[in-house]
């Protein structure tokens, strides 16, 4: 974190304030919904929102305290939360991961996982295809054997498994 003053993508202060604000909104949402379902004393004891109301209020108080402290702190603005370099690295993992979990639904777990591992090895590891193919396919086959056959825990399957008659 020390290296990135010019290369900083976001300061600690900005992220701290942003996160605290989101938490505050979440707390407000909890308070709002607790009041909606009733947070008073009903005929037969406390209503459904009685306990969550206090939870929501505590979230609001705590996040407000964090927010105020972050706004007043002069040091935080100079500190880098994440440098551009680091952010790029994180996105090269996070974006494929989001794509991966999104395509599981129609490609199935095993095909999606094979492609995901292959992408990682190709993009981050710069391996040759001759190494990528056996590792990525081998890992998925191993998972198939462990989960479908050994533990009989079925995972979502897609067109390939249907074509192979493995459903």
């Amino acid at each position: 974190m020390e290296k990135g003053e010019q290369g900083s993508a976001a300061s600690v202060k900005a992220v701290e304030i942003g996160v605290a604000a989101v938490i505050f909104l979440f707390g407000a949402l909890v308070v709002f919904d607790s009041v909606r379902v009733g947070a008073k004393w009903g005929d037969d004891g406390p209503q459904a929102g009685y306990f969550p109301l206090y939870v929501g209020l505590l979230i609001c108080f705590a996040s407000a305290a964090i927010l105020v402290r972050a706004l007043r702190d002069p040091v935080l603005a100079a500190e880098s939360f994440v440098s551009r370099e680091e952010l790029k690295k994180i996105l090269t993992v996070l974006v494929p991961t989001v794509v991966y979990v999104a395509v599981i639904a129609w490609l199935g777990f095993y095909v999606a996982s094979t492609l995901y591992i292959a992408y990682f090895m190709w993009h981050l590891g710069k391996y040759a295809w001759i190494k990528i193919a056996p590792v990525s396919i081998g890992v998925s086959v191993a998972f198939f054997l462990i989960f479908e056959i050994w533990f009989s825990v079925p995972l979502p399957k897609g067109p390939l498994e249907a074509a192979l008659g493995l459903n």
Binding site: V15, L94, V101, F143, L155
Partner: protein, 503 residues
């Protein structure tokens, strides 16, 4: 000596060939989990929990299942020391203090001694904690049999206040993280009134948030993202360990008996308090440095500096199970996951477990003795193998770990929505860790939220809304008072220092 008889029966349960096999499998899996980045005790157990569902349905199966999962926990505790010493990467927060002297020792070419010392002291710490559990847990459970809703709620209150007061971090962040956990636990159908809470019309939220998904996302995906920043390559010292080094270290260890005993005591005490393993390891390292004759050499690579934190961390990690089995209040995130396992298998954790399922409880306690022996044997003989895992390039191991996390998240409820949630929790975990929000209180609140709320409701229902029910007798009043004392401990400490300073 009722406990000894019960324990002997427990050994009878735990010593079946199948359970012994599970112990070794669990320990090996646990060490692998402890060594791998992104996988730790908590999410490792969470991922493997669904695999025990079918096992737990067979007669005696719940005991086998808990033996498997708790041995994964011991393995992960052992595994944390390997990465700390050889690679200077603490696998778990409580292994941080082990790096102070462990890694310098490895750089001096004495990795074998450091590892032997770490494993042996882990074992001794665990052993002392298990002995304490054996004799103390029936007492605590018997005591807790008299508990009603107000008492249980004040125990939960104590747990959560201890987090705020003892964690030493930013109290507002601890409270925020904890309350988010409680709010997420409240999502879904309210079982008492039948009202839908916080679902906002989304059908996928009806069932609420499962803490297993949160654990897998927060600790698994979050940690992978964090590791990425620090660079992709692990550079480690080589792990040569042979009988000669082991015996040589064992000859040296008895000299540190005072440090061992002190650290084990610190660990046992702090482990019962939630989140205690990490402060316990730092505390006993600090104490050892101050009290040892070689105090000035701490940090340059001396064996005593490995003994102190490892004994305490392992003792704390083990004694975290004492409140889990006796009161149903877990002392650590991993213990929380184990508690979640009990609930899923249909067992009610708490004092009644000792009365209704003695086989289960004493089988578990007996397996703690045996599992730690199994762990010591496995780590001492197979260290180079486990260290080799960390030499697998990150570009292969990272996607494989994420795939494992995704499978784990999916298998909890066979739901794709949970896999999406896991990624969201991963991003939250990454941001929270970097901003210094503690994750353990959130997980514990997610696990205990429903039970805490239920006891709170029943308590104030009984008193017609009068909060003084939590001070109505000596027991509940003492617990609530202690909770408030812990909550305001930092303020009290500051005031105390101010008063002393003036004099």
């Amino acid at each position: 000596m009722e406990e000894v008889n019960a324990l002997m029966q427990g050994f009878g349960v735990a010593l079946s060939p199948f359970n012994l096999l599970l112990m070794f499998v669990g320990v090996v899996l646990g060490i692998i989990i402890g060594v791998l980045p992104g996988l730790g005790g908590a999410n490792g157990v969470a991922i493997l929990l669904p695999l025990t569902f079918s096992m737990a349905q067979q007669p005696g199966g719940t005991t086998s299942a808990i033996i498997l999962l708790s041995c994964i926990y011991w393995g992960a505790l052992f595994g944390g020391a390997i990465t700390s010493i050889l690679f200077n990467i603490p696998g778990e927060p409580w292994s941080v203090a082990t790096t102070f002297d462990g890694h310098p020792l490895a750089q001096l070419g004495r990795a074998g001694n450091a590892l032997t010392a770490a494993f042996t002291s882990s074992f001794i710490g665990a052993l002392i904690a298990v002995i304490m559990i054996t004799f103390l847990s029936p007492v605590v459970a018997g005591f807790a049999l008299q508990f009603g809703p107000p008492e249980f709620f004040s125990v939960y209150l104590l747990t959560f206040c201890a987090f705020v007061g003892m964690s030493g971090g930013n109290a507002a962040k601890t409270i925020a993280s904890m309350m988010i956990g409680f709010a997420l636990a409240a999502v879904g159908l309210d079982s008492v009134t039948g009202t839908l809470r916080l679902t906002f019309g989304f059908t996928s939220l009806l069932k609420g948030f499962d803490f297993l998904i949160a654990v897998i996302g927060l600790f698994g995906i979050g940690e992978i993202l964090e590791t990425l920043e620090e660079g992709l390559a692990f550079k480690g010292a080589s792990a040569k360990i042979n009988m000669k080094v082991v015996l040589e270290t064992w000859k040296e260890l008895p000299r540190y008996w005072a440090t061992s005993l002190r650290s084990a005591a610190v660990g046992c005490f702090m482990g019962i308090v939630p989140g205690g393993a990490t402060p316990a390891s730092f505390m006993s390292y600090g104490l050892a440095r101050r009290l040892s004759r070689d105090g000035k050499d701490f940090g340059n690579g001396i064996v005593e500096g490995v003994v102190a934190p490892e004994t305490a961390a392992h003792a704390a990690g083990t004694s975290a199970l004492l409140p889990m089995i006796t009161l149903g209040v877990p002392g650590s995130p991993t213990a929380a996951v184990l508690l979640g396992g009990l609930l899923i298998w249909g067992l009610q954790p708490g004092p009644l477990l000792f009365v209704e399922k003695p086989d289960f409880v004493w089988g578990l306690i007996a397996s703690m003795y045996l599992g730690n022996i199994a762990g010591l044997i496995v780590v001492l003989t197979c260290v180079p193998l486990f260290a080799a895992i960390l030499r697998i390039p990150f570009s292969i191991i990272a996607p494989v770990i994420i795939v494992i996390c995704a499978i784990g998240a999916y298998t909890v409820h066979n739901s794709m929505f949970d896999v999406y949630l896991m990624v969201v929790f991963g991003v939250i975990g990454y941001a929270f860790k970097k901003l210094g929000y503690p994750l353990a209180p959130m997980v514990l609140a997610l696990v205990l939220g429903d039970r805490a709320e239920e006891n709170f409701r029943n308590a104030i229902k009984g008193s017609q809304g009068d909060m003084m029910i939590f001070f109505s007798n000596g027991l509940v009043g003492g617990l609530t008072g202690l909770a408030l004392l812990l909550l305001f401990w930092p303020l009290i400490g500051a005031a105390w220092r101010a008063v002393l300073g003036k004099r």
